[in-house]
Symmetry: C5
């Protein structure tokens, strides 16, 4: 579970709730038809923008990515080094029976155990990375589009409220509350765009880069196992990949 995403969203919602209750009551901010038109409108228009099946899948992929725990590259490097030791002690074929949790590493190890030559091995694994990137980038474009549509539907809802109110101006005492309700959809749209969809689209990008780095380490490691490289040198080589992150931390 990624704490950042959840913590950020819940924190923002908490702040908003606090600000609401400090100046009035939460009841004044709940209006079911307003919620329906903004949330419903954004979801429905997403089906106009993207092919149906893709929307569901990309959404699922996006959610999993956002809330999944970031893979720990140090751990995967240790595991690769263990596998390299195993392959040296016994043989490449022995890798077949090693228990490997990470699916991508497992795929690579099985290919090595099958005696796949380097060119094909790399091409198969790199294709997998490319597909992962494409899925994420598609999911990101869906989140971004929903983030852009949220304020638009907020405005449509507010226009409906304003026009209804202005068209029937009987009781001047009614103007205030009617405008308050009309503004609710703009408020919902702003929250949806700026707390959910747009920030998630941004994180999806960072996550995609992280996961690609993680997979690149696995590719390099698996190829090194195939070549029977020295496990110690292998560790050094793979940790070089970590430098950007580590140095970013240490600097």
């Amino acid at each position: 579970m990624d704490i950042g995403t959840l913590f950020g969203i819940l924190g923002c919602l908490g702040l908003v709730l606090g600000a609401i209750m400090l100046g009035g009551s939460l009841l004044g901010f709940v209006d079911v038809p307003s919620i329906l038109i903004v949330i419903g409108g954004v979801i429905l228009v997403t089906f106009v923008m993207f092919p149906m099946k893709t929307v569901f899948n990309s959404f699922k992929v996006g959610m999993k990515t956002l809330f999944a725990k970031t893979p720990d590259p140090t751990q995967i490097i240790r595991q690769i080094v263990d596998l390299a030791n195993l392959a040296r002690r016994e043989s490449l074929v022995a890798l077949e029976k090693a228990s490997v949790e990470d699916e991508f590493l497992k795929k690579g190890v099985l290919l090595v155990a099958d005696g796949t030559e380097e060119g094909l091995l790399r091409s198969i694994l790199e294709t997998e990375i490319a597909f992962m990137r494409q899925r994420h980038s598609y999911g990101q474009s869906i989140f971004k589009a929903m983030g852009n549509m949220s304020p638009a539907f907020g405005m449509i809802g507010t226009l409906i409220g304003l026009i209804n109110m202005l068209g029937a101006l009987d009781d001047p005492n009614n103007i205030g509350p009617a405008m308050a309700v009309a503004l609710l959809t703009t408020f919902y749209g702003a929250i949806m765009a700026n707390v959910f969809f747009l920030p998630m689209a941004t994180k999806l990008e960072a996550r995609s880069a992280e996961e690609a780095l993680y997979m690149e380490i696995i590719v390099e490691g698996v190829v090194s196992i195939l070549h029977g490289e020295n496990p110690r040198l292998l560790q050094d080589k793979l940790e070089a990949f970590l430098n950007p992150a580590l140095r970013a931390g240490g600097n």
Copy 2:
């Protein structure tokens, strides 16, 4: 018929109608001159932006693409494999009489039956794909331009209404309804942009990519038939093209 586009548009319109009727009457949202200036203005300005003939064609192409059923790549692969079997059992010339529904596949098959060599075959079919892409991208830019012009003409209409109202402020009771009518064009512009033109432009892009993938499969399949490749291997080879979509689904 693509259900997503239609379902999304009708759903959005339904939500909007519901929101309108919950807070007032639908009559207050219908104003023929306002409709004329926004819809008419956007259509007329499209003729200033794009050459006339192209507007009609691209619009037609766009509509067909948006509401057409997505081609099923599994089916086309099966058909290509059948054709490959036919070519192996009889001869390439026998393909000429095979009944092929898809126009692009038919063109490819006829070229093979005519004994066209690979280079020319590929070049002819790839040109077709390039033209398809260009048509779609042109149609997309028209939809996008109309989506950008809709709020602009909505604002022009609202400005006309406001200036007229402010210039003749006799009866203060009249301000509300007059402003309601003035806001209608902004409302129409927002609906046109965010429910129709902009989402359609987005889908056109996804559709174009889908159709291009579909056509690429056909090109690869037709070339394989020309080379008399093993139909079984051919199936595997073509299904590799499907992976991105399938994996996006299975992940």
Copy 3:
């Protein structure tokens, strides 16, 4: 005369006039100082943005392009084929006396009659196309800049009106008409940007592409004449250039 541009602009203006007169009188929308500040401001700021001489030329070029009749590529192909026949019957030198209306074709034909070799011929004509593109793209950027400046000067005018009005709030009955006048500049700016400058910039792009295609056909035709290619084959070859447009039409 290109009907689309004129028809679109006049239609939009007609719609706007209709909407104005339906809800008030045209007189309320005419204010000479407001017109001066928006139109004058946009023209003057264009001289700050672009070198003076270039503004005049590009504007002239732009106008000619927008309202000029689209060249008919079928006709030019027929003419090229006629010239190819002439060159075959008599000689390349005979081309010198042929009457050719299109200036670019004439230039190419004279170069062929002078015995220019293919490399130089192509380079001279392609340079001409590049210059044409550059002129159009420059003209387009001027129209776009004017389109972006129009709402800005509209807003400046409205701010002047509002500040003047607010600074001297004596008679509350005066507020309405004064605000109406203040909004006029915003209205003028919106019309200028969305009916004139921005749509024209968009069309200039389409026109530039059309004209470039037309000139490319001429280059290919002239080179073929130089090589004495078969006029029939030449016709086929040049009509291949038309395909994108024709297919866009037929699809």
Copy 4:
């Protein structure tokens, strides 16, 4: 002195002043604190955005470029031809004593007189052009950033005015003038962005292209002098560079 920039700016300011005085008095548009917050804020934030020394230099370079007279390429070509004649009559070394006003041409001529070989000559002069472009592009990005910050500080000023006014609503007669003053900063920001910074950034781009062309002509001319090319042919060759501009004029 470039008349366009000055004429455009003064013209715009004249129009604005006229519009102000037509509807009220100029005094209502002068508010020293408002001027301070917008102009001061934009200047100060520029030091947050760009390194201090660079701001001063780029500003100076920008101003010089904007108001400098456009160099006349015809004149420089004549001068280069004269130098070519001199070099032919006497020798390359004689160039050393020729009086050359343009600094860039002088540098090139001295390098030729020193017997610098073509490769090095070109590399030195092209580096100079690259530096000039970089300086201009940096200056342009400073003007653009100031143009984007001007409306932002205008809005900040207006928000301060509005909040102050709303927080102390005693005398309703005071609302109008207070809002007028609050809007002044928005007005100043709009003028600064749309009359000064953004148009100047646009012109800097055009000027940079003009000056680069001018310098390219000099590079070509100096290299030709080094090779002892025929002065007549040299004139033809250099005037080919002018074509875009001349044709843009003649078309």
Copy 5:
């Protein structure tokens, strides 16, 4: 300490404070809940947008870069020349004991003393530069995202205030102050975006370029020391790197 960044920010804040106090009291601009929702919201949403650890690091890196003193390239060149002299007089190994303050130069010098060959030396140092650029560009994108989110959360806060106020319109005397408070969040958001985050993102870019240039000089210098180049020529060679900056100053 970079004076520009600090001077600009403090100056802007001073101007804003002055403008506030000129027209009212500072107390009217301080509202703790409003501050909490804008600042808190922007910080929390940053954790939704970027991985947690990266936020902290990039922020730290960004701050250090913004307020750090710009390295003086003239000084580093002098130091490199001294090291080159030392290496010539004694030997490359003697470099090991030289006291070098700059960490990047130290790393390079130690590699030279270890006898690293040019290819590897360059690759190690260039990788370091690439990592530095990446860190800065990541930090910049965080600042930019926070700058874009600030007005969004300002608007969310204002919407909450407006809806609360409109929903409970009892005492008309209360409207003014309530709106004043509602506008405060918009004001805070505008200050945060336009005085802090966006200008800092811009400066981070300039700083990154400066630091990269500085490091490039070191790489070139260290490689020259490895080759035992003449220290005098080395000085000339390295000062050529300074030209863009110096000329930008001198022009």
